[in-house]
């Protein structure tokens, strides 16, 4: 097994733990983006309810929040707690989302854009929380206002002391109304825009979490809201500096830095960390393979590859080569992640075609063309020995399964399991292997986002090109495994061998004298 860094190991262990309890469909780690959206929905809806009772004036804000929390604890109070805890849960979720992309090395190369835009998006969420705490106008709100002002005052283009507003007693409603405007409208709009940019380079962006996960999360939030309702500090008092505050560390962790550093230094530290995070995709950069290439003489413009591309890198245009088809596809090399999923989508990637010549397809990976894949299968077939001859097909981004090779097992690693045209499996079986074992990234997860899912759909007949009925399903096994799942794969192979032996025995007893072909 090749070297796996410890961060990835930790991550994969947590992921396996969640697979155990949630199954892959509900695994929260496979749904972090959508889960963040779910928490935003809870925040939005509870926020709308709070807005009905919230007094956006400096003098009335605190009392209105107190009213909601205590007099109307059963409705507005619960809403307030949901609003707070869902916001906090969103931060935990986003942090995990970040950790996941980092641990799995899914932040560099063609993913730089998502990472790069994710960092400022996180800041937008945090500043949205900051204005939220400001609006309560309790001692914590005053603290937030005071220290935010010190930070703003340190900016080079600011030449009046905003901080002075919060000690001199001349604070006007206007300032507070500005905060309310930012929190209720300005910042959320910017956030929506930022998230839109963040996912812009992807297609099939899921924004709804699985129902089971949403329900579970909501019940958990509700239970927490009832068990530990969110409450305010004492009212903001400019004659007082509150000695002890219950900070929300998810949102307000920056402020205590001001105890140790000047406002200028605090800016340098936070901007420095932000900048560092944003350039991480280039530390060091990761090379993306050569983009897919279209071969128009084998493309009939069916658009399946454009439909399947997880990175929106293929578009459709009117035919340019005079062929009788209406459309053709174009690859945008700067968006292409070189996953090869389009090769698996193309009906021309059929190894039964062009039997005695070079196999060419409508869209192909120049460094690993479909012809090489067929050659590899042919070679494996000719080299395999024994009566349980197996080809294991997997991908470069999951468990390294090269070690399985033996006299009766040959391995074929593709860029992504979605790169595999279903006819390849059929072809291998027809050429005489006893079984095809398909591995690759864990179910629910795919390095190239949709390889697993498309493969499953091709196999169950809901996505073209489909695995045809004549392929013997008993001789096909799917077992997906991440880099740390080595032992599991070996035992699955052993089981598969037994299964094939039984099948072979049954077949020979049915047709005495005939070998399996």
């Amino acid at each position: 097994m090749s070297y796996i860094n410890p961060i990835k190991r930790v991550y994969l262990a947590i992921e396996a733990w969640f697979n155990l309890s949630f199954g892959s469909a509900w695994n929260p780690l496979y749904n972090l983006g959508t889960l963040a959206f779910f928490f935003f929905w809870v925040v939005l809806i509870s926020g709308l309810y709070l807005f009905i009772f919230f007094d956006t004036s400096l003098s009335g804000a605190y009392a209105s929040v107190e009213y909601m929390t205590h007099d109307q604890w059963y409705a507005a109070g619960v809403m307030r707690s949901l609003h707070r805890y869902a916001s906090d849960a969103a931060i935990v979720t986003i942090m995990l989302h970040m950790f996941r992309e980092f641990a799995l090395d899914r932040y560099r190369g063609f993913r730089w854009f998502s990472w790069f835009t994710g960092v400022p998006t996180l800041w937008m969420v945090i500043t949205l929380g900051i204005t939220g705490y400001w609006l309560v106008w309790d001692e914590l709100g005053l603290y937030v206002a005071m220290l935010s002002s010190q930070l703003v005052d340190a900016l080079p283009f600011m030449n009046s002391a905003m901080a002075r507003n919060f000690v001199g007693g001349q604070l006007t409603d206007r300032f507070f109304t500005l905060m309310a405007f930012l929190h209720l409208l300005g910042q959320p709009l910017f956030l929506v825009f930022a998230i839109w940019i963040h996912v812009k380079r992807l297609s099939f962006v899921e924004i709804t979490a699985p129902i089971g996960l949403s329900m579970g999360s909501f019940i958990a939030l509700l239970a927490l809201s009832l068990a530990a309702p969110a409450v305010s500090h004492g009212p903001a008092d400019m004659e007082k500096v509150t000695a002890v505050l219950n900070l929300d560390w998810f949102y307000l962790a920056v402020y205590p830095l001001l105890d140790y550093f000047t406002a200028g230094q605090t800016w340098m530290i936070t901007l420095g960390i932000t900048f560092f995070m944003m350039i991480m995709p280039w530390l060091p950069p990761k090379k993306t393979g050569h983009a897919a290439e279209v071969h128009l003489d084998h493309c009939n413009g069916c658009e399946q590859c454009a439909d399947d591309c997880p990175f929106d890198a293929i578009s459709v245009q009117a035919r340019t080569d005079g062929a009788r088809y209406e459309n053709e596809v174009v690859v945008h090399p700067n968006l292409c992640a070189a996953c090869g999923i389009c090769v698996g989508s193309c009906p021309s990637s059929n190894p039964f075609r062009q039997k005695n010549e070079q196999l060419e397809t409508g869209i192909d990976m120049p460094q690993f063309p479909i012809n090489d894949i067929r050659e590899r299968i042919n070679k494996a077939v000719s080299e395999l020995l024994g009566d349980t001859r197996i080809i294991v097909i997997g991908c470069d981004n999951a468990l390294d399964f090269a070690g399985l090779e033996s006299s009766d097992i040959k391995v074929l690693s593709l860029y992504c399991i979605g790169m595999m045209p279903p006819t390849i499996v059929e072809y291998a079986l027809q050429k005489g292997v006893d079984g095809v074992l398909i591995t690759g990234c864990r179910t629910g997860d795919c390095y190239y986002r949709y390889g697993n899912k498309w493969m499953d759909q091709r196999f169950d007949g809901s996505r073209r090109p489909i695995l045809r009925g004549r392929a013997d399903r008993d001789r096909i096994k799917v077992f997906r495994a991440a880099e740390t799942d080595c032992k599991n794969l070996r035992s699955e192979v052993a089981d598969f061998r037994k299964q094939l032996q039984k099948l072979n025995e049954a077949e020979t007893s049915n047709q005495p004298g005939q070998a399996h072909e």
């Binding site: 309890s21 199954g23 901080a163 001199g168 958990a220 927490l224 530990a228 002890v244 900070l247 179910t443």
Partner: protein, 184 residues
Amino acid sequence: MKQKPVISLGKLMNKVLRYTLQVFNYTLFMAIVWYFSIQPPYRQLEEGQAVVTLSFSHAAELREACRRMSQEELLKLPPNMRLPTSCPRERSPVTVELFLDKKLMTRQVVEAPGLHQDQGIDMFHRIKVPAGDHKLRVSMNDDVKVEGPTYRFEKDITLQPEEQVLVDFNANSGGFYINILPKR
């Protein structure tokens, strides 16, 4: 061609166990959310501390007084710029010292901001002090032409723990004063 979960607990792994584990995971998640939303408490002031806040805006004296231009100087200037007096816009830096019971608590030296150093300064400085009775003394120099303080202020103050006293300044009403905040 059935797919198995990556880690299989076999038959043991029944629904009840799965849901129990889910409840455990959700509880852990919410415990983390709850804990860090208010814990650990953050301490701004030590037990029995109060705060003296020095905060004011002030335009310091000009570095140089206006003076009449001599005939020679005027001749050197283009005709449209020949004004009889010259008033350099640069203001003096402001030096403020704050003493509590004769102990220097802070000394701030602030240059006048602006491209021509012609703007007023904004001072905002917080000092944590023990609560109780204190002799407060503040002095300021805002004029490079004067040696020593241009403004002085002394007052006996009594501070409760967590109390904030605001030392403000207004040149028109004689300099420093304790700004009593309007009661809510």
